[in-house]
Each structure stands twice: as structure tokens, then as C-alpha cells.
């Protein structure tokens, strides 16, 4: 059955309308706001100026926030994907009942609010938490990583792992398990079969997982706000501060827009870099 062009357009219309109302229009209003001036006493000025953007690129606080965001998002994306790939590979090989039980456990954290999960880590990593007590007893000294970069990365990996696994498991499931037998049959040790056959076939999933978790980590607010404390300022927490603490809405708008455009540029560059590898596999999987 072929669906006529008109029907197809009609089918995507609700999505387009929703996207325009909830994304395009807010972004346009954000753009307008970011071009406004701001006065400490008078508040938002109804002018058109590039002052806010100038401030972003001149103020080292913002630059530090960008770099921290980038560092944490990249690290979180890579670690989450690595962990997710190992778990997905295990689940793929397990199959059956064990697989359905374990995948439910892995996906279950999505049912709990991210804020709650982040607070959970305070109980573990906080001053009187499990981690310092444990390391103290082991004679390693009380390790306190809360309100620092490792705490944020751990929080992100925990929060993003279900997404990585959902993507990667789908990718593994597209591989015919007979291929492993075929490789073994002509002399490949198990590790060689995984490296030469399985890995190339899950590259698209790995790339997609890194990208998605990176983007989610770079824009997330709850984890850095709760586990990063007041001194670790990321792009998202900087925007919140401008908006809700300093009430400088134009600056917050300019920061938000820069974050969005920056992330978009990274995504485009990343996809251009990985296209060659993934197109071969996706076209012939």
C-alpha cells in the first residue's frame, strides 16, 4: 500500500505543530531576549545589542563553565557508553529469562526522578556516607569526592546508563549470532570474533550512544546542581544563576542559545566524522 503525499504530510503535521510551538517559537523569543540590554537597576532594556554575547566571550567564569561542561559531558558520554556496551553485550549473549530480568533492573532507575537519584548519591558520597566510611576502614583515608567533578560524572553515568543500554542493546540485537559461530569456525578465538565481527557491527550504536549521552549530560541541570555543589558551575547551572539569582534574563538567554548552538556544532562535526564508519554498517547490516 502506498500512502499519498497529502496523507503523509497530514500524518507528520501534529509533530511539526508541536515542534514549532514548543521549540521554534521559544528559541526565537530566546534569541530576541538575548539581544536585549540589561541594567542592574532598570532590568531588561528594550534595545538591540550584542552586549550579552560579548560578556560571555570575555568573562572567564563563563569560559570555565563551558570547559567544565564539555569535559564532564565527554567523560560521561564515553564512560556511560563503555559501561552500557559491556552490559548490553552480556545481555545479548545471555538471552532468555535472565536477560529480561536484568534488562528490567537496568531500565528501572528511569522510573525514579533524576533529582531523587542524585540525592541518593549524596547519601553514598557525602561526609558521613558509605564511600568515605568504607575507604576509611580500608585504610585509604576518607575519600570525599562529593561536590567535585568525579561526583558529577558518577551521577551522570548512573542517570544516563539506561539510555545507552536501550540504544546499544537494539544495536546488538540486529547482529545474527551465527556470525560468531562462523568466525570461530574459520579460526577466530572468541576475543577475535568480538573484535573483528561484533564490534564493527555495533559501531553505529556506540556512536549514537556517545552522542546522545553527551548531549544529555551537557544540558542537564539536576546532577551538576546537586552533586557539583556551588563552586562547580556548568553551563546549565550558570544559566540558572543568571536567570534566578542575578535576574539577568538577557544574559541567561544568550548563554542558553550559545549552549544550544555549541552542542549543535559538536553534533554536526561528530556525525560528519563518524558517517564513513557507520554508513557501511547501517547500509549492510
Amino acid at each position: 500500500m502506498t500512502i499519498s503525499r497529502r496523507v503523509r504530510l497530514l500524518l507528520i503535521a501534529p509533530a511539526v505543530v508541536a515542534l514549532v510551538l514548543s521549540f521554534v517559537l521559544p528559541m526565537l523569543s530566546d534569541l530576541r531576549l538575548s539581544l536585549s540590554g540589561y541594567d542592574d537597576i532598570m532590568g531588561v532594556q528594550d534595545t538591540v545589542t550584542l552586549d550579552q554575547y560579548q560578556a560571555i566571550f570575555q568573562d572567564s567564569t563563563y569560559l570555565d563553565a563551558w570547559l567544565l561542561t564539555l569535559r564532564i559531558a565527554i567523560l560521561s558520554g564515553l564512560l556511560t557508553t563503555l559501561l552500557g556496551a559491556l552490559i548490553s553485550f552480556g545481555l545479548w549473549r545471555l538471552g532468555g529469562r535472565t536477560r529480561s530480568v536484568v534488562s528490567t533492573v537496568v531500565i528501572a532507575p528511569l522510573l525514579v526522578s533524576g533529582v531523587v537519584r542524585a540525592y541518593g548519591w549524596i547519601a553514598v558520597m557525602g561526609p558521613a556516607g558509605l564511600l568515605p566510611q568504607l575507604t576509611g576502614k580500608l585504610g585509604l583515608g576518607e575519600v570525599t569526592i562529593l561536590y567535585n567533578e568525579p561526583a558529577m560524572v558518577i551521577g551522570f553515568v548512573h542517570a544516563l546508563l539506561p539510555y545507552a543500554i536501550l540504544i546499544l542493546l537494539a544495536s546488538f540485537d540486529r547482529i545474527d549470532p551465527t556470525l560468531l559461530r562462523a568466525a570461530a569456525n574459520i579460526g577466530a578465538r572468541p576475543a577475535q570474533a568480538v573484535r573483528l565481527v561484533v564490534l564493527p557491527l555495533v559501531y553505529p550504536g556506540i556512536f549514537a550512544s556517545v552522542l546522545l549521552t553527551f548531549v544529555m549530560a551537557s544540558a542537564a541541570y539536576a546532577v551538576p546542581a546537586i552533586l557539583g555543589g556551588a563552586r562547580q558551575v556548568t553551563a546549565a547551572t550558570a544559566i540558572f544563576q543568571e536567570q534566578n539569582v542575578y535576574l539577568n534574563w538577557p544574559a541567561a538567554a544568550a548563554l542558553a542559545l550559545s549552549l544550544a548552538v555549541g552542542t549543535l556544532l559538536i553534533m554536526v562535526a561528530y556525525q560528519a566524522l563518524t558517517r564513513r564508519t557507520t554508513s557501511r554498517v547501517e547500509g549492510h547490516a
Binding site: A182, A183, I186, G187, Q192, P200, L201, H284
Partner: protein
């Protein structure tokens, strides 16, 4: 032909009776092989033993679920036997991981690596053996020419037809100089028309490669046309191992007789053993009792043994008469099959297509004494197994 591109040490030539003693050299031997998947569960493979000679084409024929695929997987090392021994080229291979066994399988759905080109698929095995790049490249080129895919080296598997994919799978298997090539339902993935054509092609290629071949199939025509000897399996056990012609002409028991081809079974008793070893038997059909001289499938059958006479459709002689009636005609081209109702029995008879002369409703008689057949004992009776 294949020897021209072999890079490894020359394989011993196909053993002759003189070289290997009185029997041709055994290449693969299964002894008392059994597999039970779940503790307390049924045996998927039950005490299977057979030997495959060097250079032989050996078939494992049976319906789905008979244990033939499990047997194949135990040889390849994907499934470990519960009991029994497998020796390949003199080595005991039970417990050995698949990559060290020297078996190379052509999978039912080929299992080509989708992310690699045809040439890279074939090079996969040789590359793992740390052969020089030039050696691998030359080898791959020769193998692709050998299977007639010289121009396809840079293509990806999904750009090839089913038959071409199969030849890539074959080249990939041959590239590792396997002790034995295992074919799992090699032609079941192709349409009927291509099947016959590719069967001959596959057989020719494998013969030229000079390898020992084990073919697993549920298709009798496939097993018969490709194999020197066939083991017929049912319910996890081997019913018989013999050349196709033997299996068809002298089935050792009714199970084999009905699984291999079609036939008419008539209850009968042995009256006498003729000087040439054939049997004189009496069989009853409707009101008449017939005396027949038939072949025997088992050696030790004496006078008085009760059993059945198997008469193949093409053996049944139909004459003018009034004993029975033709109730159905299927004209297939090369042959025509008739269903004839005689007294309370239904018999199947076939004639060459060009000479088929019967029509539905014709009155006919059956001349059993002119028909010939094979005497088969019932399972558990006489020497049956």
C-alpha cells in the same frame, strides 16, 4: 585444480585401498555419540556412530528434529556431546574449541560478515593465521576465481544473489584448508529452480577442491544426488548408513523404506530361499494370493519369517483386468503417478511420462509376480534394528 593454489603443506592424496590398508582411510569418526540438552530430558542424539572416509561426500539425512543438526554442531564444536567420541584426522576433538578443530561450515543462511566485502570475507580466516599480506591476497584471488566470483571481490554480501553468497561462504570455508567441510542444508535457502542447478555446481566445486564433505539435509534428492554415502537419522538414532542406491533398493526396515521414497507394503511370509539369495514369498492382495521372488534387505532371513514386501511405484506392473480401478492420476512430466484401488487396498504406481496410458475410472489388475520388490522385516523382528 585446487592443489594449484594451496599454500600450506600438500594434503595427502585421497587414500586408496592400497595406501590405507584394506579399508579407505577413515577421516572422521563418531563413536557412541549422544547428546542430552537438559538433565533428565530426552536424548536429542542417541548413540550415533559412523565413519566418513577421506575425500568422501557423506550425507546426514533426516526430518527436522531427528538430531542431525545437533550432530553437526557437535562435530563443529558448537555443542558438547553428553557422551561419545569424535575423531577427525586422527585427533580426538571433543572438548576442543571450534576455532582449533579444523572444521569449516557453510551455514544454512551463509552467515557472511555483512560489514566486509566478498574478498575480506574470504580473507578472514587466512588473515588470522598471520600469513603474509601477499599470500592472503593471492589465495583470496585464486579462491574467488575458483568459485567463479573473480569480478565480485569488492562487493558486499547483500549485493549478491543467494547462489553467489553461497559460493562466497564456500570460498571462505575452503580458505582455511579445513580437514572437513560441513554443509548445513546447503540449498534450502534457494528457490526450487536454482536448487537443481546449484546442486550440480556445488558438487563439482567440492569435488575439484578434493575435500571431505559432510552434508546435513532433510531433502532426500539433495542427499542422494550429492553424497557417496548417506546416514539416515530419525529420533536421534542412525537407521542405516549406505550408498543412496542401496538405501532405496534395499531399505533395512519399514521406517527406512517409507522415509526414502514412496512404496506399497504388502504383508507376506518367506516360503523359500532361492539359490541366488533372493526370497520366494507369498503375499495376499484382495481375493488373490500371489507368489513373488523378491530381494532381501537383511542378510539372515530364514524360511517362515513374517514381514512385508516393499514394491516401489515404478516396479508395480499394471495389466488389463478387472480387479481394481484407477482412482487418481497425477501427471508430473517425466513420470505419471496413479492411485489404484484393489480390493481394500490403495496402491501407488508410476510410469514414464511418455508412456503413461491410464485414466481415472479405468479397470485394471496388478501383476505382483511380475513386479519384484524387497522383503523387509517389521521392526524388532528377525535381524531388523
Amino acid at each position: 585444480m585446487l592443489s594449484s593454489y594451496r599454500t600450506g603443506p600438500a594434503r595427502p592424496p585421497v587414500a586408496t585401498a592400497a595406501a590405507g590398508g584394506p579399508e579407505p582411510a577413515t577421516h572422521l569418526e563418531l563413536r557412541g555419540l549422544s547428546k542430552r540438552y537438559a538433565a533428565g530430558g530426552p536424548l536429542a542424539v542417541d548413540d550415533v556412530s559412523f565413519t566418513v572416509r577421506r575425500g568422501e561426500f557423506f550425507g546426514l539425512l533426516g526430518p527436522s528434529g531427528c538430531g542431525k543438526t545437533t550432530t553437526l554442531n557437535m562435530i563443529a564444536g558448537f555443542v558438547e556431546p553428553t557422551e561419545g567420541r569424535i575423531t577427525l584426522g586422527g585427533r580426538d576433538i571433543v572438548g576442543m574449541p571450534p576455532h582449533r578443530r579444523g572444521t569449516a561450515m557453510v551455514f544454512q543462511r551463509y552467515a557472511l560478515f555483512p560489514h566486509l566485502t566478498v574478498a575480506q570475507n574470504v580473507a578472514f580466516g587466512p588473515k588470522l593465521r598471520k600469513q603474509s599480506r601477499a599470500d592472503v591476497e593471492r589465495r583470496v584471488g585464486e579462491l574467488l576465481d575458483f568459485v567463479g566470483l573473480g569480478g565480485m571481490a569488492g562487493k558486499f554480501p547483500d549485493q549478491l544473489s543467494g547462489g553467489q553468497q553461497q559460493r562466497v561462504a564456500l570460498a571462505r570455508a575452503l580458505a582455511v584448508d579445513p580437514e572437513i567441510v560441513l554443509l548445513d542444508e546447503p540449498l534450502s535457502n534457494l528457490d526450487a529452480r536454482m536448487r537443481t542447478e546449484l546442486r550440480a555446481e556445488l558438487k563439482r566445486l567440492l569435488r575439484e577442491a578434493g575435500v571431505t564433505v559432510l552434508i546435513v539435509t532433510h531433502d532426500q534428492a539433495e542427499a542422494f544426488s550429492m553424497c557417496d554415502r548417506v546416514a539416515v537419522m530419525s529420533d536421534g538414532t542412525v537407521q542405516d548408513v549406505a550408498a543412496p542406491m542401496e538405501l532405496y533398493r534395499r531399505p533395512r526396515n519399514p521406517v527406512l523404506a517409507s522415509f526414502i521414497g514412496e512404496g506399497n507394503f504388502l504383508a507376506s511370509t518367506v516360503d523359500a530361499v532361492a539359490a541366488d539369495g533372493r526370497l520366494e514369498v507369498t503375499a495376499t492382495l484382495g481375493p488373490r494370493t500371489h507368489r513373488l521372488v523378491v530381494d532381501r534387505a537383511e542378510p539372515d532371513i530364514g524360511v517362515g519369517t513374517a514381514g512385508q514386501v516393499l514394491i516401489r511405484p515404478e516396479q508395480l506392473v499394471v495389466t488389463a483386468g478387472t480387479d481394481g480401478e484407477v482412482v487418481d492420476v497425477s501427471f508430473l512430466g517425466p513420470t505419471a503417478t496413479f492411485v489404484i484401488s484393489v480390493a481394500d487396498r490403495t496402491l501407488i504406481c508410476s510410469q514414464p511420462g511418455h508412456a503413461a496410458s491410464l485414466a481415472v475410472g479405468d479397470r485394471v489388475s496388478v501383476d505382483l509376480s511380475a513386479s519384484g520388490g524387497t522383503f523387509v522385516t517389521a521392526p524388532g523382528v528377525g535381524a531388523g534394528r
